[in-house]
């Protein structure tokens, strides 16, 4: 999922610049920017458009600039620092970087490894699962930012077997789904059933009915909900 990210970044300039010059240079990297992925990267190295939503300088000490950056997924902060250095004429590099947010998940709700360790210990040895439940969260929390479709109990198991979602199985649907959008399919209890692609917009689904969401990835285990569709099939044969 290409969720937006927020970082705190320490940049080191290779020459002296006034606050005004730094501000001007940074302003060149706010908004929609072209970016070529760095040499050491895991994607094809051709220029792409990325959005930098916000840059705020937290502190500055001579050539070191500490800043907060919010950008779209797939933006290289290292590259922004490097390019900013070129713009100022003397170069710059990224010294330290910490991601403070990814989509809806923020740094404040992230736990260090030691917490995984002791909460797991508490669960295994004392039978107390309260801490582990704080650290390990239901995956639905991660999928909350997706446009969602909630379906009837009777539609669940067919989807777990890979079927696409047809309009009659829908209980609630996001109002602004466009054709081709990635959507999350959930039960009325809020469990994730699958991730799929919208075959039609919400408007078209409401008007025409028919196949609505193509199942791309099944999350829920088969048999969690009763397989009404099987019984229906048998009845047809009889």
């Amino acid at each position: 999922m290409r969720s937006p990210k927020e970082y705190v970044c320490l940049m080191r300039l290779h020459g002296d610049a006034s606050d005004e010059e730094v501000e001007w240079a940074l302003s060149q990297f706010v908004g929609e920017i072209y970016q070529t992925p760095p040499v050491r990267s895991s994607v094809a190295r051709r220029p792409r458009i990325r959005t930098v939503y916000e840059i705020e300088v937290i502190e500055r000490a001579d050539r070191e600039v500490l800043m907060r950056i919010a950008s779209s997924g797939g933006t290289y902060i290292r590259k922004i620092c490097h390019d900013l250095g070129l713009l100022l004429g003397f170069g710059a590099h990224m010294q330290e970087l910490r991601r403070t947010r990814s989509g809806i998940i923020t740094e404040r709700e992230a736990y260090p490894l030691i917490d995984v360790y002791w909460s797991s210990w508490l669960w295994r040895n004392e039978g107390d699962d309260s801490e582990l439940k704080r650290v390990v969260r239901p995956l639905e929390d991660l999928l909350a930012p997706l446009p969602r479709v909630e379906i009837l109990d009777t539609a669940v198991d067919a989807i777990c077997h890979g079927a696409s979602l047809a309009a009659p199985g829908i209980a609630r649907i996001e109002s602004k789904i466009k054709r081709g959008d990635i959507v999350g399919v959930f039960t009325l209890k809020g469990e994730c059933v699958s991730i799929g692609t919208a075959l039609k917009s919400t408007e078209e689904i409401l008007k025409e009915g028919g196949m609505a969401i193509k199942t791309e990835r099944v999350i829920m285990e088969r048999g969690t909900y009763p397989s009404v569709w099987r019984r229906a099939k048998k009845r047809q044969k009889n």
Partner: protein, 100 residues
């Protein structure tokens, strides 16, 4: 020093607005509310937002989590500090490693 440049509000989440087509109840004898999911099942259908410190790679940390929890299906999505859990989650949250 007061430098704050803003282009737009980051789209942290989708602006949910649901239309109800059918008013139906869900049968409490099947499935579960994610909030009430027991730990055994959370380990399969869950994730950990992991605060990784500088040093070990995401791969190293994933191995530690596997060992600590005694389960084999652990993956990670996001190159820095967010570690997804369970085979299923990993693929969803995989940002092809480019989110530097």
């Amino acid at each position: 020093m007061g430098i704050h440049l803003k282009y737009s509000e980051p789209p942290w989440r989708y602006n949910n607005e649901l239309i109800t087509l059918r008013e139906e109840e869900t049968d409490p004898s099947y499935g579960e509310y994610p909030k009430n999911r027991p730990v055994e099942r959370l380990l399969k259908y869950g994730f950990i937002a992991l605060d990784k410190h500088v040093g070990p790679t995401s791969h190293d940390v994933t191995a530690h989590v596997k060992r600590i929890l005694g389960i084999s299906e652990v993956g990670h999505g996001g190159t820095l500090e967010l570690s997804g859990r369970s085979r299923r989650v990993r693929c969803l949250a995989h940002p092809s490693g480019e989110s530097d």
